[in-house]
């Protein structure tokens, strides 16, 4: 794949006419000298909000990779003071004989108010295509910019294990799900757990072990940050119709209390170990010391089985972002897990 990039700069962030004209000029210029006619078909508006200078390049690199795969108008709302004014870029890339044009507008929004940001974003967005908001800012519903942008989006993507974290972030996401039922919400922190959910489910695919799933007596999750443990607990609780006993315990359908222990250990955003107890039996999935991409699966107690190894299959962040974009409907499993966690946190 090779790319032909054409860029321009506008000083005034509120001059949307000039921005759109520059976008048009850049698009035409980038298609020059191509042997194929350029076909530009935007599948979405991809809004990316970033306010952390340390996180900025990480976010923008991933946003660009997603936008390169999905023809889109990428609108970067940069609140880090790294840029002033508006940078407009159009790039034509050739792959497999085809030419695709990507459009990108980077707007420095550090010094402008929420109403201006929302208005500007609406004017720069292509009508009639879905709008995906990837919010990496430090506040959620407390930010009027987030609320305003989210209301115009079809999908909102956050990471409650990133800049926003802690109990309050989860509470706010629960509030979001309730307040905006038509907007698809995705949380990278939850999406990262898919391999672990598969590991846990795997134990009980065996019908001989499945009855233990309905008589669990304890749950212990070790992770480097809170959101992972909370989400896994919330997911299990919602799948098994548990009620909340208190902040550190569930209650199963028979009324038995299931202590939920969360141990902080290991790298941020990584789960280290999940252990489920059912009487004398223990079902544990633990990251291997030999290979961080392999999980040791052990079943001990009356139904003991030989130790097994399973590939963890961690999914790279860009792929998770891409998956969130492709899924345009609400994820019922995520929603119920989130609401369970919100209830757990009180």
């Amino acid at each position: 794949m090779d790319a032909n990039v054409t860029a321009g700069h506008i000083d005034a962030v509120d001059d949307t006419k000039a921005i759109l004209e520059q976008l048009q000029r850049s698009r035409l210029a980038s298609a020059v000298d191509r042997t194929h006619a350029a076909a530009s078909a935007a599948t979405m508006n991809f809004l990316v909000f970033v306010d952390d200078p340390n996180h900025r390049s990480w976010v923008l690199e991933r946003a660009a990779r997603v936008a390169a795969k999905h023809p889109s108008r990428l609108i970067v709302l940069d609140s880090t003071s790294s840029i002033s004014g508006v940078d407009v870029t159009a790039s034509a890339s050739t792959s497999g004989g085809a030419v695709a044009i990507s459009e990108r507008v980077d707007v420095g929004v550090a010094t402008i108010g929420h109403a201006a940001i929302i208005s500007l974003t609406q004017e720069l967005s292509i009508p009639e295509v879905p709008t995906v908001l990837w919010w990496t800012g430090g506040r959620l519903l407390q930010s009027r910019t987030f609320s305003g942008l989210a209301q115009g989006a079809t999908t909102v993507l956050v990471d409650s294990s990133g800049k926003v974290r802690g109990d309050e972030a989860i509470r706010e996401l629960g509030e979001f799900v309730t307040r905006f039922p038509k907007i698809a919400l995705a949380d990278l922190a939850f999406m990262r757990l898919a391999p672990w959910q598969n590991m846990i489910a795997q134990f009980f695919d065996d019908p001989a072990l499945r009855e233990d799933l309905f008589s669990l007596t304890g749950l212990e999750i070790t992770s480097g940050s809170d959101a992972e443990a909370l989400y896994l607990g919330g997911w299990l609780g919602s799948r098994l119709s548990w009620e909340i006993a208190h902040r550190d315990a569930f209650r199963d359908r028979s009324g038995h209390t299931i202590p939920f222990e969360r141990v902080a250990e290991g790298d941020q955003r990584r789960v280290r170990r999940v252990c489920l107890r059912a009487g004398e039996s223990a079902y544990c999935a633990t990251l291997s010391d030999d290979d961080p991409n392999v999980v040791e699966l052990s079943v001990t107690g009356p139904k003991a089985q030989p130790m097994r190894y399973a590939p963890l299959g961690n999914i790279e962040n860009t792929s998770l972002i891409e998956r969130a974009i492709v899924e345009t409907t609400r994820d019922r499993i995520f929603d119920t897990s989130l609401l369970t966690v919100r209830e757990l946190l009180g």
Binding site: A37, K69, A201, D205, P207, L213
Partner: protein, 524 residues
Amino acid sequence: MAINVGNPPTADGAATSANPLRAGLDTNRIADPCNIVFFGASGDLTKRMLIPAMYNLRLGDVLPTNFGILGFSRSKKSDESFRDEMKEAIDTYSRSGEARDPLWSDFASKVGYVSGSFDDVDAFRQLKARLDENDREFGTAGNRLYYLSTPPGVFATIVESLAAAGLGPKDQERGWSRIIIEKPFGTDLDSARALQTEVNKVFDEKAVYRIDHYLGKEPVQDIMALRFANVMFEPIWNRRYVDCVQITAAETVGVEGRGGYYEQSGALKDMIQNHVINLLALVAMEPPISPNADHIRDEKFKALSALRPVKPDEVARLTARGQYGPGLIAGKPVAGYREEASVDPNSTTETYACVKFFIDNWRWADVPFYLRSGKRLAHKHSEIAVTFRGIPHRIFGEAGDQIENNTLVMKIQPEEGVSIRFNAKIPGQKMHIRGVTMDFNYGTGFGVVSAPAYERLIADAMRGDATLFTRWDAVERAWEAVTPIMQRWSEARSVDFPNYLAGSQGPQSADALLVADGREWRRI
């Protein structure tokens, strides 16, 4: 005595449907535990494709929790030496790179080997003992998948030996047995029918998985999605709008050390009879009522049943054949077919075949389907090109002269995707029109690399999903379609071989076949 040929599990997998944790999880994991036996385990296919595919299925967490793998071949070797060979094969050929611990050790502990001749019933009894042992040790529940990656001449022998050793489905007290059979299924219509009779004595048709790795390729599967998940193609997918269909399977490689096999086969039997005709069926079939394997295969069968037989006196007009001579591939000189190892210096085996078929039904009456396949051609290139009729009335004067027929191309390899050729106005004061191409490429469109076909197909067979495997009735129809051509070609030995240069577009006689219709082949 239970006989279970293995019905496909539900979408969740039958064994996991009661597991509430599975709801909503995106998993490809195969539910049923099972043993898989590779016959011909010392062969090239097992090393290059099958064992790496199994290991990648393990890495992708697709294999069931409880599984076992046994190799069976004539060569004598221990479990350990077979594992060592398989590790080397994975290290060399797997798309995921070298096998590493602890996953490799875990995988290897499930791999064993049994040596014996394919007609040695005692060896098959040893195999049965190992399978029973695996059932006890690995919890594989009596489920067995046999994979015949041997020369076709021993397929029937293996099936007989399986039955004689009590390894057929009818002898099973629990679990299912399925058999994957590599192509070619027979060497002509009669031998295919004879093989089917032998296979059918032991395995019910629902338990037979005739593998054609072409059908496991992502773009081939996308043909159905393109046709039946979009509204814009189906209304024009018929004789009223389609001018012709060209299906191409071109290779740059020669016979790759398989001269002995190829001498008995040739392009018609090696490619057209299976891969290419299967593609034709997917393009030509009517919409199935569901994605159920039998519903799809019913429609493919009907399409193949409508193939107009090529009469002996039409063979010269409707077909062309060729054999490559020395030439250049990617700038490097390569030998001609007759100079290849194990090839008769006066060989009349065709390395290029093309056929013009018609499908006699309401949808396709009089629309030619041009099929071609050849070795040592200019590029490795497989595609299906549907060319539509010209516009009924030209309103653009001189500019109208440049208007091309629209073409929809389904690209199968090496590029995977879809392109549409349509006409557009060149920007400017005058009305100048030219053809432009709009491309969709799997790699950039979805950002994922398609898994090798063997991984998909082995997993499907383990799941009991036969959608991408060829049913006997379709195999029989395909043999019936090419048999008159085979017979005529064998009677009239070609005297002008070699008739195309390695690295070229193929023989002139193939070009002439289309020129006679006022058309031309798409460039390879």
